[in-house]
């Protein structure tokens, strides 16, 4: 018994899946067993976006205590505008559009790192400041106008294979790729190393600053990609498309078992927690209780799952 608990304890992401599954079951009960499969399809679709951005957030959070990327929403606003402007409703421009979106994100990531490194601004404040600036850029570029995606692009991002959304497959592949990167590349190991101690990492001759730079670029780049995908999925860009991802990504990363103190990432947990967060809302919506109570329960359920899962194991 203790053995099982220990084993589960070392797999912190299990609890997010347990939470997601439980919520889904309750949803089924509430809706009298109706539409369970479709709820899952919807959950997969929308979690895909959450997963893509949260993977970047996870890298940043893993790179050390106090590291967090608050610029994600503004990057999504910017990159969705950039991608739609570049695509300009032409099917031929889909790939350049996506690349432009990723590049716009990466540029913001680079700026974030510059603020953190050159001006030594703590990451929270640095990314907050850059998000304000990015929002202004997005307003200037997009003028708040919505441009439609090319039909081919819209069909692609809303497409399904055997009932499974293409987006979910993409996000799954991305998650697997990042898991491999973390476990099996020098960059990935270095992210975890600097998350535990930058000083120790430097003394072990790991490339500390290069890794931090890549991490912020990767996070914003993933947000950039997601911005393009959201614009395609939602029938066009808009300034407010990313707003919900500010706190959602942090919640997903941490509920998924990544250590906020840095150094330990949990990729599967991102999927579990993303599904969980979507399904909580669905469950509470379906239950028909008033909005205030819905929020109250959302909070209580989050706290309960994290408390049952338990937190950081005591070190020696």
């Amino acid at each position: 018994m203790t053995n099982i608990r220990n084993r589960l304890g070392s797999l912190p992401w299990v609890w997010s899946f347990v939470g997601a599954f439980a919520t889904w079951l309750v949803t089924l009960v509430v809706s009298a067993g109706q539409g369970g499969g479709q709820v899952l399809t919807a959950a997969l679709t929308f979690s895909a976006f959450t997963v893509l951005v949260s993977l970047g957030q996870m890298l940043v959070i893993t790179s050390g205590p106090g590291n967090v990327d608050l610029s994600i929403p503004s990057v999504i606003a910017l990159s969705s505008a950039v991608s739609m402007l570049v695509m300009n409703e032409q099917g031929a421009m889909i790939v350049p559009g996506i690349l432009a979106a990723v590049a716009a994100g990466a540029a913001v990531g680079l700026a974030n790192y510059g603020l953190i490194r050159v001006l030594r601004i703590p990451p929270i404040i640095a990314t907050l400041s850059s998000s304000l600036i990015t929002t202004s850029v997005a307003i200037t570029i997009g003028r708040g106008l919505k441009i439609k995606p090319p039909d081919a692009f819209a069909n692609l991002v809303t497409g399904k294979i055997a009932g499974v959304p293409l987006l979910a497959i993409l996000a799954l592949l991305a998650a697997i790729a990042i898991a491999i990167v973390l476990e099996r590349t020098v960059y990935g190991r270095t992210v975890s190393a600097i998350g535990q101690s930058r000083r120790v990492a430097r003394l072990a001759d790991l490339r500390v600053e290069w890794t931090r730079l890549l991490t912020y670029v990767a996070s914003a780049g993933l947000a950039g990609l997601t911005g393009a995908l959201i614009a395609g999925f939602a029938g066009g860009n808009s300034l407010d498309q990313g707003e919900e991802y500010l706190l959602l990504t942090i919640a997903v990363v941490v509920i998924g078992g990544t250590s906020v103190a840095g150094g330990r990432a949990s990729v599967p947990g991102i999927w579990g927690a993303a599904l969980f967060m979507f399904l909580i809302v669905t469950m509470l919506n379906a239950s028909g209780i008033p909005p205030g109570l819905r929020m109250l329960f959302t909070g209580l359920i989050i706290i309960a799952v994290i408390a049952i899962g338990g937190g950081e194991k005591a070190l020696r």
């Binding site: 929308f46 999925f233 939602a234 029938g235 407010d240 669905t282 919506n285």
Partner: protein
């Protein structure tokens, strides 16, 4: 009033409605300044959508010595303290869209309750009957509560309709789409969707994705909503209606403020007509709407006088 200054205090710029609103303000005030009607009329937006920040902004405007402040308020009550200070300093305060309850301020209100109830009336007039889905705005915000209570009271009064599901779309298309997609599978057949604007297109997308037949979705004034409606109308004769508040209300408020400064008598409470798009004038409206923006009405000084005069009657 040619040497007077009017400021616009705005709390949010992150969606197309607000962008259009700021644009209307910009257009109308630029003209007014070059016509020598007013000395200057800058617009200010807070970086965060938050009443406290806007209150601070208003306090600064008091210090700046503006003659009038036009406010799209983040909260109907939380700015009252700052507005009171402005009035005490002899400044004319005009609130629109998001209005403030402080008695000294002028209010250009939209009947949000009616915006709610008219949706049910429209469904009724279409001969619909059965289950409704309601998409609400941001919880805890005045506008959301008003529209919702309009919808709710109308549904209560009518045994033909029943709200079987309700989600918060935060007036954001993507959020609305996500929330509707989540709850939809658990719901029985839906005949109509009551909305608050900015969320109709998202709801339509969610229905399409779920492979359900689109019910009658009440629309807002976003271009994408109208375009989708037009497309459905052309394809299968889809019938719905759109009601909203025009972003040009900022221009309306500007002229009201200017009139007050000029010494005209203006009632403390004014009502701005709801901008309605119907099956018949849909094409016409789309033609007038900038691509990707929202349907708008640009009020001139004369329009304002006319509407006020009508209101007096």
């Amino acid at each position: 009033t040619k040497d007077m200054k009017i400021a616009l205090s705005n709390n949010y710029a992150g969606n197309s409605w607000r962008q259009a609103m700021l644009k209307s303000w910009d257009t109308v005030t630029k003209q007014a300044v070059s016509d020598g009607v007013i000395a200057e009329a800058p617009a200010f937006t807070t970086s965060e959508n938050q009443a406290t920040e806007q209150a601070g902004q208003i306090q600064n405007m008091i210090l700046q010595g503006y003659n009038a402040i036009v406010i799209d308020a983040a909260s109907p009550t939380a700015l009252n303290g700052a507005i009171r200070q402005a009035c005490d300093a002899g400044i004319v305060v005009v609130t629109f869209d998001g209005i403030a309850t402080e008695p000294c301020a002028y209010r250009i209100a939209v009947d949000f309750k009616k915006l709610g109830s008219m949706q049910i009336d429209f469904f009724k007039s279409r001969g619909l009957k059965g289950n409704l889905l309601e998409i609400r705005g941001l919880a805890g915000v005045f506008v959301d509560d008003e529209i919702h209570s309009g919808v709710e009271s109308a549904v209560k009064a009518d045994p033909d309709f029943k709200i079987v599901g309700s989600v918060h779309g935060n007036w954001t298309q993507t959020v609305a789409q996500k929330e509707v997609a989540g709850i939809l599978p658990t719901l029985p057949d839906i005949v109509a969707v009551a909305t608050q604007g900015g969320d109709g297109f998202g709801a339509a997308q969610a229905f399409k994705d779920a492979g359900r037949k689109e019910p009658v979705i009440f629309m807002g004034n976003r271009d994408d909503e109208l375009a989708w409606w037009k497309q459905q109308k052309d394809a299968n004769g889809y019938v719905t209606m759109s009601a909203s508040i025009a972003p040009g209300s900022s221009a309306f408020a500007f002229w009201v403020a200017q009139k007050i400064l000029a010494g005209d008598k203006v009632p403390q409470d004014m009502t701005l007509p709801i901008t309605v798009v119907t099956q018949d004038n849909l094409e016409e409206q789309i033609k007038h709407t900038e691509k990707g923006s929202v349907t708008n009405v640009n009020y001139s000084r004369q329009d304002v006088s006319n509407i006020l005069a009508e209101g007096q009657k």
